[in-house]
Amino acid sequence: MAKLFVLLVIILGVIALAQLMRVYELSSKLTNKKENEITNRDNRLNAKLMLGFMLFLFIGFIWLMLKYGWTGRGPAASVHGEQTDWLLNLNFVIIIIVFFLTNALLFVFAWKYVKKPGVPAFYYPHNNKLEMVWTVIPAIVLAVIIILGLRSWNEVTDDAKDDAIRVELFSYQFNWNARYAGVDNKLGKYDYKLTDDASNPLALMTTETIDKSIELMTSGPNGIEDLEAKLNDPKLVFSDKIRTEMEERLARKEQLIRLLHQMKARHTGETDKQAMDDFITDTLFLCKGENYEFTFRSKDVIHSAYIPHLRAQMNTVPGAITRFKLTPSMTTQEMREEKNDENFNYILMCNKICGGAHYNMNMIVVVLDKAEYKAWWKLKTEGAKDPANSKMYTTFPATFGESYYKTLQSAQEEMQKELDAAKVAEEVEGEEGEDAEGGEVEGAPAA
């Protein structure tokens, strides 16, 4: 019914417009008005509107700026971010001046030089001196912008210091994990072929994991033996499509198992220790004032690690490693006080389109002060003191800093409840929401 009504309104509207046009046509025929001859009244009206629009634009801009500020995300919480903001502000001052000046010239001229009967236009085809001026002045300003920008860029992208804490950020549809390098501050080697979602989600490379992968690939569920058996079993009937898929899968696995055997042959076990003390979290804990070097990895498609408050961003590229270094300069607590919001958290968001739940792929970032961080670190690494005895993926509960995470979790749970109530029918979304909560890695079996 509503649709019909809307349709009716649209049709009547068009008819009304057509009738108005008809009236307009007849009246212009009577007055002998021609569409291409613009009356002085129309000219003056539009000229005034030009000026009016300029005011609308400028006032709108100033209002938005007063209301939201030009960096709505608050102060920078990293050392390089402070410099970024300084540079951003400088650039903004420059472009805002240009914005106001040139737009004002444009609209004021558009208003002032509207056709006045009897006043001819001024024939003024060129003036080399003037043109030189507005080539050279932008060039000088841009030179300053380029020099300052590149200085900052070189610092940000420079190699990290040797003592920087190494953390790997691992991305996949649709979540993040952080892998800390542990006591030795060396990230263990990895190879995507060793991925096993249950025991080795980040595909770390040790003698043990290689063996396990070979075993899984050979005789695990849906392994080579399994697939061959199914394909050769005369009692099982598959559709062509499924059979082709299975054959393709088998071919892939046969190719991969050869590579795994090669890997095993080359692997000496020297680097196992580096991997053994690595630990994985689903929240990124950082320490104020420490240097970090992040390496980024992706399991499936391109993602991007974007931490707006830390002014940091880097894509994660499947098959390649990317890097970004930073030093946090404000703890979460300090930022909460600054923003006057006790539920505030730093966030790492995915910022490269990566599939349906792209918008929901984020990870809480917690910046602790030195003492808190030390305690958290101790808890996380205790089990790894003797790598020979310890198991991989120490999964001690992180009591320190967990309170931050808890507040968030409860908030998220509440929101989830509300959402669920709002759309009971949508079970699919609820499942995805659970996935985004993560936790599967923390809960990975320790054995």
């Binding site: 291409n36 129309d42 240009v98 080539t135 910022n351």
Partner: protein, 601 residues
């Protein structure tokens, strides 16, 4: 009409067919004027589709999760169950909106319409160098438009990897459902589009170089032609690279190659592809992608140069500097593509080179802006609807251009890359400027296209609604972006869980943006009405309605095959002799010989 056409054909026999059937006149026409109109019609349709898509996802962004009859009406229960847009379709809408707007409206539509219409008319040629190739160019464009449109109705949805279709997302149907059939259609559609664009561009280049009439030296060409000419060169040099990117992607998708894929596990399936690089795709894509920005923009700037000069009744200021800037922008546009890739893991040193080249583009752009402003200075401005749109274009070119300086600065780009700041920037500088330029062109050359006049008052209303609406949409987006909102997010209420104040700000602004978007979209109804009404019922156009100098206004109002009855006109001066002292009228057409002792310019 027929009689005039026959008369015209009497003078030149190369255009053989005398009796034009309906099919050869309106469908498989080889006449550049008809082909231009065909491009325009197709582009208008595609533009309306793309605009509608944007309204659909704007509704979701402003009122996330709320039921909307509008959404369920257009998307049905599959893509908008209970009137709430699905996550996947959101990405599909965003992707197809971008693709259609950039390629089909602003490349095919803008360049296709006006290059076809104006190049022969303004250089003084009977038609394009090859009428047949020209027809082929349109029909390829048409087929690719149909394919792209059809992809919206595929069961697994249209392409969903963003208009840049970065692999691996676009290569793996298991990563997102739109990368199945939808992406296949996208790739085929774009490949055909590229063929269309190449054929068209080659034709434009040859026509401009070889078919100029007597006296029409390169430095007497209207700036429109210079813009179309450089645009066509950019297209010829860059579109093939996109084709190669698309072909490699097709091979990754269908033949199991690993150009862009390496070490991937998707949906639990371990792929064997190894050694490819997604960055390779990005380099190839943006090698087209950045010149593409200027392929979109330059024709709009060319059209507005002509319109601003005509309606200010003043010569365009710094004609040679304008040509120089067009050439400089065209050249520089090829060596700046890396600024789309500062945070992709590309070598930082390479990044700094791209910072330098990118910021250089600001110089010719600034020259153009100041030249426009000086053209207005002490003019005698006549506000035709076209003039309004042209001035609007200059304003958006400034407003969108200055934020480019921030984004080109790699150190700052880290903080705002892929946020709404970028969305705001390119929608204003590329989207709005080009759309305003296109509207300006339609209003200005409508009398030439259809022999009728459009209604001026409706044009005014259309302009003011469009300008206010569009600024209202894209201006607040800068602030959303500066607050750190990533683009292509389905629902910004995720902010609620970690940053309450930013969440509120985003929700507020998103509602404002959507309201302006709806207003602007409704405003386009005025245009559509005016456009179609005037085609059939508009008052008859005089031969030179805007008292303009260029050659197209010396042709008869009724279209004839071959453009000029009798001999081709001879050109004696540049096209910008407006209000020249010592002349009777305030315009002197290019065909008027120089008086004794008169300096050219």
């Amino acid at each position: 009409m027929g009689a005039v056409a026959h008369e015209a054909h009497g003078h030149h026999d190369d255009h053989g067919h005398h009796e034009e059937s309906f099919v050869s006149k309106y469908i498989f026409s080889q006449d550049h004027k008809m082909i231009g109109k065909q491009f325009l019609m197709t582009a208008v349709f595609m533009g309306v589709v793309a605009m509608l898509l944007s309204i659909l996802f704007r509704i979701q962004l402003a009122w996330p999760g709320e039921e909307s009859e509008f959404l369920s009406f257009f998307l049905g229960s599959d893509w908008a169950p209970n009137g709430v847009l699905s996550e996947d379709m959101y990405l599909g809408l965003v992707t197809i909106h971008g693709t259609i707007m950039v390629f089909f409206l602003l490349t095919g539509g803008l360049s296709g319409t006006f290059s076809n219409l104006l190049i022969p008319l303004q250089v003084g040629a009977r038609d394009m160098a090859s009428g047949f190739l020209n027809m082929l160019s349109y029909w390829f464009f048409f087929i690719s438009s149909v394919l792209m449109f059809v992809s919206l109705f595929v069961e697994t949805g249209p392409a969903m990897a963003g208009w840049t279709i970065y692999p691996p997302l676009s290569a793996l149907p298991t990563a997102v459902q739109g990368s199945g059939m939808g992406m296949t259609l996208w790739l085929f559609s774009m490949s055909i589009f590229i063929a269309s664009s190449l054929i068209g561009s080659l034709n434009y280049i040859v026509t401009v170089l070889n078919l100029r009439t007597k006296g029409m030296s390169m430095t007497r060409l209207p700036l429109t032609i210079w813009a179309f000419f450089v645009t066509a060169i950019l297209g010829v040099l860059s579109f093939p690279v996109l084709l190669s990117a698309a072909v490699l992607l097709m091979m990754d998708r269908m033949a199991g190659t690993s150009f862009y894929l390496s070490d991937i596990i998707v949906q639990g399936e371990m792929l064997t592809q190894h050694g490819g690089s997604p960055l390779l795709y990005q380099h190839l894509f943006w090698f087209l992608g950045h010149p593409e920005v200027y392929i979109v923009l330059l024709p709009a700037l060319g059209l507005s140069s002509e319109i601003i000069s005509t309606n200010s009744r003043k010569p365009i200021f710094g004609y040679r500097a304008m040509i120089g800037s067009i050439l400089a922008i065209g050249f520089l546009s090829f060596i700046v593509w890396g600024h789309h890739m500062f945070v992709t893991g590309m070598n930082p040193f390479l990044g700094s080179v791209f910072v330098f080249t990118t910021l250089l583009i600001a110089i010719p752009s600034a020259v153009k802006v100041f030249n426009y402003i000086t053209t207005l200075w002490r003019g005698s401005i006549v506000y035709t609807p076209a003039m309004l749109f042209a001035i609007g274009l200059v304003s958006t070119f400034i407003t969108g251009g200055v934020t480019g300086i921030i984004l080109a600065d790699s150190a700052l780009d880290i903080a705002i890359h892929d946020t709404y700041f970028v969305v705001a920037h390119f929608h204003i500088v590329m989207g709005m400027s080009a759309v305003l330029g296109m509207f300006a062109g339609v209003y200005h050359w409508f009398p030439k296209m259809y022999g009728k006049m459009m209604n001026t008052r409706l044009g005014y209303a259309h302009f003011w609604i469009t300008l206010i609406g569009a600024y209202g949409v894209f201006f607040p987006m800068h602030f959303v972006g500066l607050a750190g909102a990533p683009r292509r997010y389905y629902d910004y209420s995720v902010y609620e869980s970690f940053d309450g104040s930013t969440f509120e700000m985003m929700m507020d602004l998103n509602v404002i943006i959507t309201i302006f978007a709806i207003i602007a979209a409704l405003g386009q109804i005025l245009f559509l009405f005016n456009f179609f009404y005037s085609i059939f019922r508009g008052p008859k156009a005089p031969q030179n309605p805007w008292r303009s100098n260029t050659l197209e206004w010396t042709t008869p109002v009724e279209h004839i095959h071959g453009n000029w009855p009798g001999e081709l006109p001879t050109v004696h001066r540049w096209p910008y002799d407006y209000s020249k002292p010592g002349q009777e009228e305030d315009f002197v057409p290019q065909t008027v010989p120089l008086a004794e002792g008169e300096e050219e310019h």
